[in-house]
């Protein structure tokens, strides 16, 4: 607005504030000087509003649209899948360890049966199978 009122900077600002106020009477907008003033101002303001606010808003909207519509969901689902897979891996690891342990126990049992067979010749478990043969 400085380009319009060089000597007194507040005049245009004050007038624009009055015109932008919703409570201002509608009659003022049909006055020829006011319409002319608005048209003159609008030529200067419109490109600045488009570049300064409207285009960033469009970018902002597009980003949020992508984030809410696609990225958030896929990221959180992926995160849940990762957690599930790590839990499954941990469980499988536990099972594997338990299996190894059972294997070791049965082998140890067989060796113990072999080392000390019962006097009657009957034995139990894996040791029985090995002792029988």
């Amino acid at each position: 607005m400085d380009w319009l009122f060089d000597n007194n900077k507040n005049n245009a600002e004050h007038l624009i504030t009055i015109l932008a106020n919703e409570s201002t009477s509608q009659e003022i907008y049909v006055k020829e000087p006011i319409r002319l003033f608005i048209e003159l101002m609008w030529v200067k303001f419109k490109p600045r509003i488009i570049v300064g606010v409207f285009l960033p808003y469009v970018v902002y909207l597009s980003l949020l649209y992508t984030l809410t519509g696609h990225l958030l969901n896929s990221f959180l689902i992926n995160l849940a899948e990762m957690r599930f897979m790590s839990e499954v891996c941990a469980y499988a690891n536990e099972l594997h360890q338990a299996g190894e342990f059972m294997k070791r126990v049965s082998v140890a049992g067989g060796e113990a049966d072999k080392a000390s067979p019962s006097p009657s010749g009957s034995s139990t478990g894996a040791g029985a199978a090995t002792a029988g043969h």
Binding site: E22, K46, I49, I50, V53, F54, P56, Y57, V59, Y60, L61, L63, L64, Y65, T66, L67, T68, L71, L72, N73, S74, F75, L76, N78, L79, A80, E81, M82, M85
Partner: protein, 148 residues
């Protein structure tokens, strides 16, 4: 391994998007705060300012919650909660796009026409809502007997 690589790619992409969005949120937050400082309490007299502020607050909450989840790789907030907040924020943003079309003279007439129509039919709408609530309540209470 494939899942982990996919997750890392997702994370990087998401972090870039969230970073740019946070910059823009700060920019629009700055604009709103400047308006609030200039207008004072009269800022709240305009409905569009309410929409702007609500949209900003919802989007900021959504982005912060999501950002925490992305950075810490932990689902601190339920997916449903984040999505609900995000959907409301998006709704208000699309609503504002409608208002933005006033910038262009060929659309401005229609935007003003629709807004004026809604404003004029506000009292009729209130009556319609009351009628709908009364019938809805009647059916809800009468139907409740079917379910004990």
């Amino acid at each position: 391994m494939k899942l982990s690589a996919e997750h890392d790619a997702h994370r990087t992409q998401t972090l870039v998007f969230v970073g740019i969005a946070l910059c823009l949120i700060s920019y629009f937050g700055f604009i709103e705060l400047r308006q609030l400082r200039q207008s004072g309490f009269s800022y709240f007299y305009d409905t569009w300012n309410f929409i702007d502020m609500s949209s900003w607050a919802l989007n900021f909450s959504f982005m912060s919650m999501f950002f925490l989840c992305v950075v810490l790789r932990e689902e601190y907030f339920q997916r449903e909660v984040i999505l609900t907040i995000g959907s409301w924020g998006m709704f208000l943003m699309w609503f504002k796009v409608f208002y933005w079309f006033r910038l262009f003279s060929s659309y401005a007439y229609y935007v003003r026409l629709i807004m004026q129509t809604i404003s004029d039919s506000r009292k009729f709408m209130i009556l319609v809502v009351i009628i709908l609530i009364s019938f809805g309540n009647f059916i809800y209470v009468a139907d409740a007997t079917n379910y004990g």
